[in-house]
């Protein structure tokens, strides 16, 4: 068994210049190589200098004293605003919660396991829905009417879909961020990138699924 200079360099970068911390079966090989190669010794010394320099570069300033309080204040304010929403807002958020519960069926179908690909597809679907439905709290706009007409839906069904699509989008963005570590921006990029026309078929299927719409209506009451 031998060690090449390239392997030595890799170990040095990964484990540092203290050879005693390298994998035990590599230590003797490394010492032998170091003893026989002046070039490697020079490299080793320059890596030691770098390691010392990195170790000395350690002057992170203390946190400002009020950071903890600022974060707590924001958290408390978020909790309070969730509890004391205005009646109109509350109705919407209540509606959203109900919609979320209702779309559990969709999520169960869309997210059998929280894998990035599936989440991306689901996000795309949510984006497509939002795009088609042009979600708005005042749902009697022209687009909604048009959508209802084009798809032979009642306005009630359109409203349900609008709410569900917005809730679904929120839910999926949160899931993507929480479980797969996407940043919000990355999740939005995935949304944008995956809004391909072939997803129209999925949307059509969803809109044609009378059972699902009925179930949604029942769930939301």
């Amino acid at each position: 068994m031998t060690m090449t200079p390239k392997q030595f360099e890799s170990y040095m970068a990964i484990y540092g210049t203290d050879i005693a911390l390298w994998p035990s079966n590599e230590q003797e090989l490394a010492k032998e190589l170091l003893a026989t190669s002046p070039q490697l010794r020079s490299l080793y010394q320059s890596q030691q200098t770098l390691d010392h320099t990195l170790a000395d570069y350690n002057d992170v300033p203390p946190l400002t004293t009020d950071l903890h309080d600022k974060i707590m204040a924001q958290a408390v304010s978020l909790s309070n605003s969730a509890q004391t929403d205005s009646p109109i807002r509350h109705n919407n958020s209540q509606q959203n919660k109900e919609s979320k519960a209702a779309i559990g069926k969709w999520l169960a179908f869309l997210l059998p396991s929280p894998q990035a690909g599936m989440i991306a597809a689901s996000l795309a679907l949510a984006a497509l829905l939002s795009h088609h439905l042009l979600f708005s709290n005042q749902s009697t706009n022209e687009d909604s009417i048009q959508l209802a007409a084009n798809n032979e839906l009642t306005m009630q069904q359109v409203i349900i879909l609008e709410d569900a699509s917005a809730a679904l989008e929120d839910e999926l963005l949160e899931l993507a961020q929480m479980n797969d570590g996407f940043s919000y921006d990355e999740a939005l990029i995935i949304l944008a990138q995956n809004s391909e026309p072939d997803l129209d078929i999925l949307l059509e299927e969803m809109l044609e699924d009378e059972e699902m719409l009925e179930a949604l209506e029942n769930d939301i009451g």
Binding site: E9, L63, A75
Partner: protein
């Protein structure tokens, strides 16, 4: 690096998910400093790094109820991942920073020469690290200063252990070459 046992992790996240402010306060006390250090070493000014810490911790507060314990992720891994992503995203969007403006901590006792040396070293390292690609820089900081293992860094950066090794090797090679060039010039 702060690391709780899986059991403590679970307990803490469950309490936070139930809106337990004391538990969240404990989380802030545990993680704000190391997360801040990561942001600061990624080249952010103090107030910017603190904003990113706040954003990261608030995300956990908002989403704690959706924590998926079956995925077996540690809170620390998740927080470092979100913080690292926040840094990388931000840096992708804009070229950061006047590192020169970072205030040195006041230390009236230190003698002038030592202060000058420290300042030079900091400037030198700031300049060197600034030239590293961001993922190399993140891997180096997580490994060298936060004490994460390569497998943990792979989790945080959402890549393989091999890629982390490669990031570290390239980062150190580049830094070594830059230091050598500097010493030749001086």
């Amino acid at each position: 690096m702060v690391k709780l046992s899986a059991q403590d992790d679970q307990k803490l996240i469950q309490s936070i998910a139930q809106g337990d402010q004391a538990a969240f306060s404990q989380l802030i006390a545990l993680y704000s400093k190391p997360l801040f250090a990561l942001g600061y070493r990624m080249g952010y000014e103090q107030n910017q790094a603190e904003d990113l810490v706040q954003e990261t911790l608030i995300k956990l507060w908002k989403h704690a109820e959706k924590w998926d314990e079956t995925k077996g992720a540690a809170i620390s891994t998740w927080l470092y991942r979100v913080m690292t992503n926040a840094c990388l995203d931000d840096k992708r969007k804009k070229r950061m920073l006047a590192l020169d403006n970072i205030a040195e901590p006041e230390d009236k006792q230190a003698d002038a020469i030592q202060k000058l040396q420290q300042k030079e070293l900091k400037q030198q390292m700031d300049q060197l690290l600034e030239k590293l690609p961001e993922r190399q820089r993140a891997a180096l900081i997580l490994f060298h200063y936060e004490g994460f293992k390569q497998s943990e860094i792979a989790d945080i950066l959402e890549t393989s252990v091999k890629s982390v090794e490669s990031l570290l090797i390239r980062a150190k090679k580049q830094l070594r070459a830059a230091l050598e060039r500097k010493s030749h010039i001086l």
